[in-house]
Each structure stands twice: as C-alpha cells, then as structure tokens.
Symmetry: C2
Subunit: 436 residues, 2 copies
C-alpha cells in the first residue's frame, strides 16, 4: 500500500533499451541521423552543443539496460509505481469479453508520463554543469514536466509553447509559471527562426516543429544553456520504458499477458514507454503473437498517411535529418486539442518498427476521440487527456472486435495523462462544437 | 506496487466511528440536532424524507466500526489506498528537523477526498430505490464527486453551485456535466428559497448555506429524490475515516507515529477523515500527547472567532439546528478561492472536540495560504487545492516551531485535493492580485 516508501524495489532501477533487442535479434537498426548540410551521419560532437554527454551516449548505446541514477529513482517515488487498473466498468459498458487494463500515468504531479524523462534529462544536464534548459511544448504537458524538473534541480527553464495551445490551454502556462519557468508563445519575435515563421504567415497557429526551432536556437546561442526534447529521440523513449516494465510486473501478478498493447502516438514516447518492454519479448521470440498499435489523429496522420524518408525534426531545418514517417516538416496541422500529437513525424525507432511491421497504426478523428473519452470518464471516473483519448478510441474498437470474435483478448493501454487542463475542449465537445 | 489489485487488504473494510470512543472514554456525546420549529431533538423520522435509513442509522450509531459494503470497497479500488508521502524536499527548503508526511487524496478521479463519502452515500440511496440526488457545492469538489458517484450507480444528480465559485471555476462545471449531472448557479430562481435570497440581495455571491437550502428544497419536493451532504453530518465524517486508517497503517510501516495531525476545515470532513483514527487512540489513552489542528480561512473563521451554539445548517433555516461553532447561518463570506471552506459553521463532532479542547484551531489569510501552496508545489511538484493550502500554511508554522525547539516532530497532514481546477486563482496570485 505504502508504495512510495516500502515498495522501492517495484520501481525499475534501469531503463530498457530496445536497440539492444533490434541489434541482437533483428540484426538491424534504424538508419542514423544525418547532418542537414553534409547529409553525412552526424557524430556525437555535433550534438554536444545541445545535449549532455551521457544523453548523447544513451542515444546510440547498444547495452540492454541503462541504470537509473539514484537521485532520479528517488524523485520517481513522488508518483511511481503508477497504478495499473482493470477497466471493468468500461468492459461492462462495451459488453465485451475482452479484459481491458490500463497504466495510469496521470498520477504524476504534472499529470502525464512526461515527467519520467524530464527528471532524467534535467539530472544529466545538471550533472554536467548546465544552468538552463530550453524546450518546446504543444499542449503543455512536456513543458510543465520540464519546468518542474528544472525547479527540482535548480536550473532555469524556458519554454516555447505552440501558439494554438497557448491560447486553448491558459492554465498549463500557469502551471509552468508556478514551477518558475518562462513561457513564450511560438512562433515569437524573440528568435530569428520565430521571426522568419511570422514573416511567412503572421497568423500561423504554430507547430511543434516551429517551437523546436526556436528552443534549439536559444539553447545554441545562450551561454550555459542546453536544449531538451520531450519525445522523438532514442534517449527520451528509453526513459519512458519504466512504464512498460512496471506494467509487465503488475500484469504478471494478475497472471495475464497482453494480446495487444495500445498507445497514442505523436513523437512516440508514451507508446514506446508502454510497449518496448513487451516488444523486447516479441523480438526475442518469447511472445510472437503480441500486437502493438500506435494511434494518431486523422488531422496529423504521419504513420498512416506519411512517407518513410529522411526529414528535419523541426520546421526551420536546424535539427539533424531523421529517417521517419513524416507528413513534411513544414506541415501545420489543424489546431486540434490533442496538441501533443501535432507533430509532423514520428521517432526514428517507432518509424523503423512500423516500417518493419512490428507495430501497427490507426487514426481517429477528434470527434471520435472525445466520444471515446466521454465513455471512459463515465465508466472509470478519470477524464483522459485529449492525446490519451486516441488510445481509448482504439481500445473500444479492439473490444468490439473481441466481442465479434468471442475472444477474451487482453488489452493493455497507456493512459498517458489526465485531461483536467483540457476541460475547455471537453466543454466545447459537450456543447456539440467539435466537428473535426 | 499493484496496489489496486493485490493490496486489497490494505484498503480498510470498515469506517471507524469516533462517537464510540467519545461515549466509551469521555462518557459524553455532542448535543443532538433540534427541530427548527419545536426546538426538540429530532427523531430519525424527520430525516427520512431526505436520507436513506442506513445513513440515518449511521448518524447516531455507537458501534465502533461500520462495515463498508463490498460494492463500495470495489469502487474505492479506483484510487485507494491513496499514497502517503514524506515531503523531504519541503523539509529541506524549510530547513526543519521536523518530519513531514502527507496523505494525498488528490489521486481520486475527481481530485479530492470527497469521493470517499459520495460513493457510500450514492450506494445506500440506490439500495433504497432513490433515483435522484440533489446537493450543494462550493468550489465544486463535492459536486464533482457526487456527480461521478451518481453516474456509477445510474442515478440523476442535481447540483447547486455557489455563484462565486460557478464564475471562478468554470471547469468544475464541465467535470460535472461530463459525469452527466445538472448544475445550477446558486442562489437561483428555480427554488423558493433561492428566489427569496435573490430578492434580498440580487447581487449576492452566494454561500454554501444558501445552496444547501435550494438543494434540500428540491429533494423535499421531488418524487424519488433525496439530498446528499458533502460534510458536517456524522455519517459523512464517518466515511472519511478511511483516510486516517490507511495513513495509520502506512506510518506504522515507516515506524513513526505523528505528533501533530493537520487538516483544513470547512465543514470538517477531511480533517475528521485524517484525524479521527488517531484521536481514537488519544481518547482511549494510547497517545495522550497527540495534537490535532483544524485550519480555516481568516475570511470565514468559525472555530477561531465563532460562537458555540445551536444554529441552522443552511441560510433559509430548513435544516435541523445543530450545536456548532458558527459565524452565523446568514453570514456571506468574502469570495475567497477556497470555496470549500466558505461554510458558516463546523460539523457538530468537530465543534464538540474543539470545545472539549481535544483539537486546536488556526486561521490564515488567503495570501498566506497561496504562498504556502507555492512553496509546496515548487518542492513537491503537486499543486494543492486552495482549501488544502490552509493545512500547508499550518505545517510550515509547525515546522518553524520544530526548528526553533530543535525537535524532530512528526507532522502528518491531509492534502485533501489538487488545485488543477483552481489555476485561475494561482495565476491571480502569481500576478500579485490576491491581497485578502
């Protein structure tokens, strides 16, 4: 019961590295990032201006486990292990024989899984003497997480928040302020790249790609500053694997293994977090039948409608080129409320796994997702983040399939965050104002 | 780790009844409620129009434990046992030798302890065939809790929300809507009592007392409807004792016993919840040195500045008269953000304990409380509800005292809820706009 204090051993002490399994069992790894100018693979040096050495090392390591520093483990006890719950009332409402489990990351103080990597990134940066971190944020979940992590490690934090979310979700800004961070609506006139975006379209709603450009520019030009990314990169996905490791242990106690693992997918970090520890078993041949489904918005369908090619991680072309499914780094998605899923590409690891048909993908409309969230909230009480509602839409579809086939399918999904700071969107939905 | 599933036994299976201990060890009980017309003690019959038989029985029972129905225990597993955390970073920031523990009730899907009694009340009403519950709500935490409980037991829910909070906290309304409840700003023209309040002062910000009058009126005049109260009554405080029972077990594993137990106090339910299981030990002579502190807003100082006398529970004089500390049932407190503490009186049990000097009381200004909340959020990550921030203000004062005296005082407080739906108030505070 006293989980934070007495069950230390049940919080994982290492991150699990999917690249180890890809290398060992598939004998193949995602193609490396390229320098945007030379088109040659970039070396660690090129990243050193933005990231601490240890994170650059984690980006390419092939070891199976990366130990979690003690200080970070200590901070995880604030909210970990997160609960694994069975959605029995949802099962009943859906009339399905499927057994639906979810891992609830919304119990973190910032309300989502993002704190898992924020704490680790802040720690490694602090250790190398960094005094300030810059970042982008969509809906504000990543920005809040990094703001808190920086406060806990006594560093400055500067967040570029995508303009459409800045207006839709004013309270996320307050959260970041309360944690002592500086928040700027992006694109802004504070940076060269932001000014250029505004020159091109002064009314733009912004995008994660643009906000990344601004944050990278400030980090690269400020003494003592580094940049931190909330998804996409290998080390970010690595840190999130504590979700799936915990879930695996928790399901083991229930004596079940999942048939299908589901997560919403923007950059891919929460999906990676819940699924990689299970995919490791699939790769090593222990669990061949396992399915993993990435769920994205129809409004920004990088996996389901994008191309698999090298593309820039940001809109100004400042980041390395990454091999990924992309709808184009200059794509500005409609201002849907799932701000965290408004990213033009997917992480190279998720993209590679999808390309190799090791994971599947599905896409839903905003209206479908909010309806799924409403059904879930009325059955289970928890109000999901608009991002997480995408996973629920897929869960409902899998549950219907199980009903049709009369199978007791075990579904596991990641409820990556709560929607308590997205209630404006819910109000709009309840009033019938969301059609997209 | 898998608390919801494997640690069933760590969620209490009974509510603990403080009246048993008062009767057995103090040989004295709070004076009974009186009929507002005859001024004679009211019998169970007078309450039967509003409450189910089992709750009326719980109001007066002298048994030590009241078993929790299995269906309710099952629902508690959604979020119980709630975490007990040590605020080590807060201790460090305060430079105190005190050990600060808190029980975090904000992990409930509605974000506060209120669901503990809402589930029980909805259950007992449903069992007796009730089809609709009416209630009042201040900040909206109780209203959200009852809305969800009614949805889970398939009953209608009608909430009268105090007008000042209705305007300050629009998202709480959305939460209640999402759970399917009907929400009306109080005072309203829907009821006779509401109309009378508006006639007296058309610009009133409302009060819990007025909202109670309206909810009671609708329940009394609607077929199949009952009324549910979120605090004050004995059975409500009884249901909350699962908080303190869990905390006791959790602290036992840490091998500590609290020297002082702290909770904010409006009607008194969260304070009762955390403290009664410890007070039971004090009454039975096991823990004589224990202190309990009720913390209230200076803007509505019923314990610290009120009188101990019979007063009405609502503003229209519809409820029984209760012996309590009160600032007067017609008192309209300033529109502070801690809407849950804007009640003119305190529960008869809390009032009796305070009168007997078994508990202490303290009061803080809104500004002091938000400052305490900011310190807490920056140290521990969690953003407290404005109500709960009152407890934190007292914790900080106790920690300073421990520092002065060089004592390793063990402080336990109830973090009754999170403040994620009160961020408008935090923004105001951060902008320097809260002076009261």
């Amino acid at each position: 019961m006293n989980i934070q204090i007495n069950h230390k051993q049940e919080i994982p002490d290492s991150y699990l590295n999917i690249s180890y399994y890809l290398n060992k069992y598939l004998h193949e790894l995602p193609e490396p990032p390229l320098d945007p100018k030379t088109k040659q693979p970039i070396g660690p040096d090129a990243l050193a201006r933005l990231f601490p050495q240890e994170l650059i090392r984690q980006e390419v390591t092939l070891e199976e486990f990366v130990p979690i520093p003690e200080e970070v483990q200590e901070l995880y006890k604030m909210y970990r292990p997160t609960p694994l719950l069975r959605a029995r009332r949802l099962e009943k409402v859906l009339g399905t024989p499927a057994r639906i489990y979810f891992k609830y990351e919304g119990v973190s103080p910032v309300g989502s899984h993002k704190l898992n990597t924020a704490l680790a990134q802040a720690y490694y940066n602090k250790k190398e003497g960094v005094r300030m971190l810059t970042t982008e944020t969509g809906a504000g979940q990543w920005g809040s997480a990094l703001a808190l992590a920086c406060k806990l490690f006594d560093m400055k934090c500067k967040v570029f928040m995508v303009k459409s979310s800045y207006a839709q979700k004013p309270y996320r800004k307050t959260v970041m302020h309360l944690y002592g961070a500086e928040v700027t609506a992006s694109p802004s006139r504070e940076t060269k790249s932001g000014t250029a975006f505004l020159l091109k379209d002064s009314k733009t709603t912004g995008s994660l790609g643009m906000a990344i450009s601004e944050a990278v520019e400030v980090a690269a030009t400020t003494e003592g500053a580094h940049y931190a990314l909330g998804s996409v990169l290998n080390h970010v996905l690595l840190h999130q694997t504590i979700i799936g490791q915990e879930a695996k242990l928790q399901l083991m106690k229930e004596d079940v293994v999942p048939d299908v693992v589901i997560g919403c997918c923007g950059g891919g970090s929460n999906l990676a977090g819940i699924s990689f520890p299970f995919l490791a078993d699939k790769l090593s041949g222990k669990r061949n039948a396992l399915r993993v489904v990435a769920v994205e918005p129809k409004a920004c369908p990088s996996l389901t409608c994008g191309e698999y090619r090298y593309d820039s991680g940001d809109s100004a072309g400042m980041t390395p080129l990454m091999k990924m499914y992309t709808v184009g780094s200059d794509f500005v998605p409609p201002a849907i409320h799932a701000g965290g899923l408004r990213y033009h590409g997917d992480s190279p690891l998720i993209s590679f796994l999808y390309h190799k048909k090791l994971i599947e993908a599905a896409a839903f409309s905003q209206q479908q997702c909010f309806r799924a969230a409403e059904i879930f909230a009325q059955a289970e009480g928890i109000i999901p983040a608009p991002e997480s509602s995408h996973a629920i839409a897929q869960v409902i579809s899998e549950a219907a399939r199980a009903k049709k086939e009369g199978k007791r399918t075990v579904i596991l999904f990641n409820l990556s965050g709560h929607g308590l700071l997205d209630l404006g969107a819910y109000e709009e939905f309840l009033q019938g104002g969301l059609y997209t």
